[in-house]
């Protein structure tokens, strides 16, 4: 059982949702990232999503795009990202780490070389933002064969038929993009979210994570009530953006932001019954 499965199984037993923070690897520098990852774990992260910087991140908003530019300016390559994960693993062998990025850097490294090196570094899953179900047959099976979870996106515009097709080759968890738009955009419509997640449940037994638009602790709490994982991205990346030369300051701000999310999620868990998750388990 890999780290993702272990983590989600343990959380399911306690009725909790996984807190899944996102930061961009190499922002503000490749050397700083392992320390920031440990900070996220200390603040309550269950799974870490690490962005692989790309020059043309067309599905991301300004916050993550700027983070990519900072990481690339610091010289970060995909090989560096894998080295970051390997360094993190020296002190943490239990927190799952997934990579999120675009296909071209993986393609440039070569898919076989990438899967081999990512597995060796301790990566648990890979989410390729621009890898659609149409193009996936050439790619995702090779990722899965290497033991990496091929995490797939479902959007509000995705039809039920298409959800089934996506879930057929997904692994780890299914990532529901909560809003039409890019990362860091409009706030989340939690009222509609429960229905949308219910639409996914019949097609997979995988956990469902929700990302895009989770900005405030209250958002995280509301999402945790209906989903299995809550992804927090732009609001953390904005904290890293204020890096002023002192890594301790950045770690403190990250810790504060994420711990507030954790606390809100825990409070919500204690006060609201988990109806939607029960639906999944019965499905």
């Amino acid at each position: 059982m890999n780290r993702l499965d272990t983590t989600f199984a343990a959380l399911r037993d306690t009725g909790q949702a996984a807190l899944t923070p996102f930061i961009t690897a190499g922002d503000p520098s490749p050397d700083a990232t392992p320390a920031l990852m440990h900070t996220l774990v200390a603040a309550g992260a269950d799974v870490i999503e690490l962005g692989v910087p790309f020059s043309d991140p067309m599905a991301d908003g300004p916050a993550i795009q700027s983070a990519c530019e900072r990481a690339l300016a610091a010289g970060t390559t995909l090989a560096d990202v894998l080295e970051i994960v390997a360094k993190f693993r020296r002190d943490d062998d239990s927190t799952p780490v997934i990579l999120m990025g675009y296909f071209n850097p993986i393609d440039a490294m070569g898919l076989a070389a990438f899967t081999e090196r990512a597995t060796a570094a301790g990566v648990d899953g890979v989410l390729v933002v621009d890898m659609t179900a149409e193009e996936a047959p050439d790619t995702l099976p090779l990722i899965a064969d290497a033991g990496l979870a091929p995490i797939c996106l479902v959007a509000p515009t995705t039809s039920d038929e298409r959800i089934q097709r996506i879930c057929n080759h997904a692994g780890g968890f299914v990532y529901y993009v909560s809003t039409k738009g890019v990362t860091g955009g409009e706030g989340i419509d939690t009222a509609r979210l429960a229905d949308e997640i219910t639409r996914i449940r019949p097609y997979t037994s995988l956990p469902v994570a929700v990302g895009f638009g989770v900005r405030e602790p209250a958002d995280a709490a509301a999402v945790a009530n209906v989903a299995d994982a809550v992804v927090i991205g732009s609001s953390l990346v904005r904290q890293v953006a204020t890096y002023n030369g002192s890594l301790d300051d950045t770690r403190n701000r990250l810790h504060e932001t994420l711990a507030a999310m954790r606390q809100a999620m825990n409070s919500a868990m204690n006060s609201i019954p988990k109806t939607s998750k029960t639906t999944r388990e019965n499905a």
């Binding site: 300004p62 071209n104 393609d107 179900a133 298409r162 039409k180 738009g181």
Partner: protein, 414 residues
């Protein structure tokens, strides 16, 4: 260049599966496809279905033909550049005068088609990206005519280079949004237009200006632009021209004017030359010639040749022409290159500027800087051919928009 190329043509017609591409997945061999955020897949399928339906609808064909004649001003003439030919000292150079189309470039052919499609699909808002401004002006003008809201994304560096075009877009009612990310040029404007589309997919139609992007855009833009080549095929049959040309020459940024001219001739014994922007020299790294120096990669929703570093990061480009300043190229061009059906060459900034001056002086025609790349190569090619041979150059746009860039490149203040 080899003269024999221009006599033998490119490809044995029997072995050319041109009609069958792209395939059902939108691939041209290994290129093309759909590499986008999941949110865009539903609108891409909606577009694919709407396009297929429109192309089989006589009413759509009638509306398109009417707009191409009455709004765009088609057919555009073939012009014998006799003085330019004499100066080159070889084959006869003819220009397909897309610069005489409404708004001054071939771009209008495609925007008319896509805007009619947008209207047919009930979309009320148009977004587009532009580099030199030609596609932006064409889109803004068509949107004005059809009463559609229009937002144009343009790199801030390109807005500086093409200030009068920005004003012109605003005059016809478009909102021009500056893009400050990355290299502040066409590729970044395309990222931003994709972000807008993903955010507003319900009411918005994205008019891509070239034969790139996710399927079905490369096919759709090629089909709309193929009016250039279809028309030219009819025109070369006249007595003065005397039959099929020996060579076709067109500039290639994304590659829509080139494919528009080449596509209806690809099964003929006609050599096709696509001219990329060599910038300060391909060896200098400061150029926009992905087919010459790029590798297969995935950018803006499709697999194609991309200018990138060894880590898969997309490189900045350089060209004196904002319209050619793009690190990718349409996927069908990538396939045509691999198959050897089209020859891809490059022309540097200085050579393009020289060709622009020659065309002004000898013919009284001010070509766009993009077009000047094609003319520069045609002059070289002509010199290696016989006077009884013919080269048809796509005069893709007029150069009024580039006067500030030309003056700046030559140290002249206006």
């Amino acid at each position: 260049m080899a003269t024999s190329d221009s006599q033998a043509g490119n490809n044995p017609a029997a072995a050319t599966p041109l009609e069958s591409l792209p395939d059902a997945r939108g691939h041209f061999g290994p290129y093309g496809g759909r590499f986008v955020a999941e949110t865009l897949m539903a609108p891409l399928y909606e577009l694919e279905a709407a396009y297929a339906s429109a192309m089989n609808d006589p009413d759509f064909a009638r509306d398109l033909a009417r707009d191409l004649s009455d709004f765009v001003g088609r057919p555009t003439p073939l012009y014998h550049a006799a003085a330019l030919s004499a100066e080159a000292g070889g084959a006869q150079i003819w220009l397909k005068r897309e610069d005489l189309a409404h708004t001054g470039a071939h771009k209008i052919n495609n925007t008319v088609g896509q805007a009619l499609l947008a209207q047919r699909m009930g979309k009320t808002r148009i977004v587009a990206e532009t580099g030199a401004g030609q596609h932006g002006i064409a889109t803004a003008s068509v949107a004005a005519r059809l009463g559609l809201e229009c937002v144009i994304y343009m790199g801030s560096e390109d807005m500086r280079r093409q200030a009068t075009n920005v004003y012109r877009m605003r005059l016809v009612g478009a909102e021009v949004r500056s893009v400050n990310a990355g290299s502040k040029t066409l590729k970044d404007a395309m990222n931003e237009a994709l972000r807008d589309w993903v955010t507003n997919v319900d009411d918005t139609f994205y008019i891509i200006g070239t034969v790139a992007g996710p399927h079905p855009y490369p096919q759709m833009v090629r089909d709309f632009q193929s009016v250039i080549g279809r028309e030219a095929r009819e025109q070369v049959a006249n007595a003065q021209f005397g039959g099929l040309p020996d060579a076709l020459v067109a500039c290639v940024g994304g590659g829509s004017n080139a494919l528009g001219l080449f596509y209806p001739f690809l099964d003929d014994a006609v050599a096709c030359y696509g001219v990329e922007a060599g910038g300060k020299g391909v060896a200098s790294g400061q150029h926009a010639a992905p087919l010459a120096e790029g590798q297969s990669g995935v950018l803006h929703g499709n697999r194609t040749y991309v200018m990138q570093d060894e880590n898969g990061q997309v490189l900045g480009t350089h060209s004196v022409s904002a319209g050619l300043d793009y690190p990718g190229v349409g996927p069908e061009h990538a396939w045509l290159k691999d198959k050897g059906f089209v020859h891809y060459v490059s022309i540097e900034d200085a050579e393009a500027l020289d060709a622009l001056h020659a065309t002004c002086r000898r013919e009284g025609i001010l070509p766009a800087l993009e077009t000047a790349h094609a003319i520069a190569y045609a002059r070289e090619l002509a010199a290696s051919m016989r006077p009884d041979q013919t080269i048809l150059v796509n005069c893709s746009g007029r150069g009024d928009k580039d006067m500030a860039s030309v003056a700046e490149a030559e140290g002249t203040s206006l």
